[in-house]
C-alpha cells in the first residue's frame, strides 16, 4: 500500500501576511500618534505653567510697590515675560492693554486665545 500524502496548498498565505503586517503598521502608527499627542500636550502644559508664573511674578512685584502707575505695570509685566524664557521656548505672547481705569495683562497662546487675563486698577 502506498503512503497517502496530502499536500494542501493555501493560496491565502500571502494575503494573511500582508494583512497582519498592515495591522501591525496601523497599530504602530496609532501608538506613535498617541505618544506624539502626549508630548505636545506636555509641552503645552509646561508652557502654560510658565505663562501663569509670569503673571504671578508680576503681581508679586506690584504688591511690593507702595504705588504703581500704568507704565510701571507695563514695564514689570514685560520684564517678567522676557526673563521667564517663554519668549524663546514657546509661541506665547504677552499682551498689555490699557483700559480707562487700569490695564489688562494677558498671556496669549499660539491659537490666539488668552491663557490668562488679569485686570489691574492703577493710576494712569
Amino acid at each position: 500500500m502506498k503512503n497517502e500524502k496530502q499536500v494542501t496548498i493555501r493560496y491565502y498565505l500571502m494575503a494573511e501576511m500582508v494583512f497582519a503586517l498592515g495591522l501591525l503598521m496601523v497599530l504602530t502608527a496609532c501608538f506613535f500618534a498617541t505618544t506624539n499627542t502626549i508630548q505636545r500636550m506636555d509641552k503645552s502644559f509646561t508652557d502654560e505653567s510658565c505663562g501663569l508664573m509670569v503673571v504671578d511674578n508680576t503681581l508679586e512685584r506690584l504688591e511690593h510697590k507702595k504705588q504703581y502707575k500704568l507704565d510701571d505695570v507695563k514695564r514689570i509685566f514685560l520684564d517678567e515675560y522676557d526673563k521667564s524664557g517663554i519668549k524663546d521656548r514657546t509661541k506665547m505672547l504677552a499682551a498689555f492693554t490699557p483700559s480707562p481705569d487700569g490695564a489688562t495683562l494677558a498671556i496669549i497662546k499660539h491659537n490666539s486665545k488668552p491663557l490668562i487675563e488679569v485686570q489691574i486698577k492703577c493710576q494712569q
Partner: protein, 155 residues
C-alpha cells in the same frame, strides 16, 4: 488503517512565521519601553509641578518673613537675621533659627538663586528651578522662575 493527515509546511512559511513573530515581539518590546518611559517622565513631571507649587508658596513667605539679605550666591541665600536658604544635594533647605525645613526636589532638578534690583522697586530674590541634563549640568534654557520681593525696602 489509521488515517494520518500531515500538513506539510514549507520552509518559506516557517521563515515567514519566524520573521513575523520577530517583528511582533520587537514592536511589543518597543511599545513597552516607550510606555514605561512616558509613564516615568509624567510621574516626574507631576512631582515637579507639585514641588514648584509647594516651594514657591513657602519660599515667598520665608523671604518676606526674613527681610533683607546679607549674601546671595547661586546656591545659597543668607539673610541679615541669620536665616539661610541653601541647596543640599537635591533638597532645598530653609534654616530659620533652630528650625530647619527641607523640600526634596524631583530627581534631575536643581535650584539657583540671584538677587535682582530695578529702579523704584524693592530688591527681589529670583529662584530658578532648573532641569539638569544627564551629566548633572544645568540646562539654562529649561527653568521655572519664581520671584520673591524682599520686605523692608518697599519703594
Amino acid at each position: 488503517m489509521s488515517a494520518i493527515k500531515i500538513n506539510r509546511y514549507t520552509l518559506l512559511e516557517m521563515l515567514a512565521v519566524i520573521v513575523l513573530a520577530g517583528v511582533l515581539m520587537n514592536a511589543a518590546l518597543l511599545f513597552y519601553y516607550k510606555s514605561q518611559n512616558i509613564n516615568r517622565k509624567y510621574t516626574e513631571k507631576a512631582v515637579q509641578i507639585k514641588s514648584v507649587s509647594a516651594v514657591s508658596k513657602y519660599l515667598r513667605s520665608f523671604i518676606h518673613d526674613n527681610g533683607e539679605t546679607f549674601m546671595v550666591k547661586p546656591d545659597k541665600v543668607v539673610f541679615k537675621n541669620g536665616s539661610v536658604i541653601t541647596m543640599d544635594g537635591n533638597r532645598l533647605v530653609f534654616i530659620a533659627g533652630s528650625s530647619t525645613r527641607s523640600f526634596a526636589l524631583p530627581k534631575g532638578f536643581s535650584t539657583t538663586f540671584a538677587l535682582e534690583q530695578s529702579p523704584e522697586e524693592p530688591p527681589r530674590i529670583v529662584t530658578n528651578i532648573v532641569v539638569l541634563d544627564s551629566k548633572d549640568q544645568l540646562q539654562l534654557n529649561k527653568f521655572t522662575r519664581i520671584t520673591a520681593c524682599v520686605k523692608g525696602g518697599a519703594k
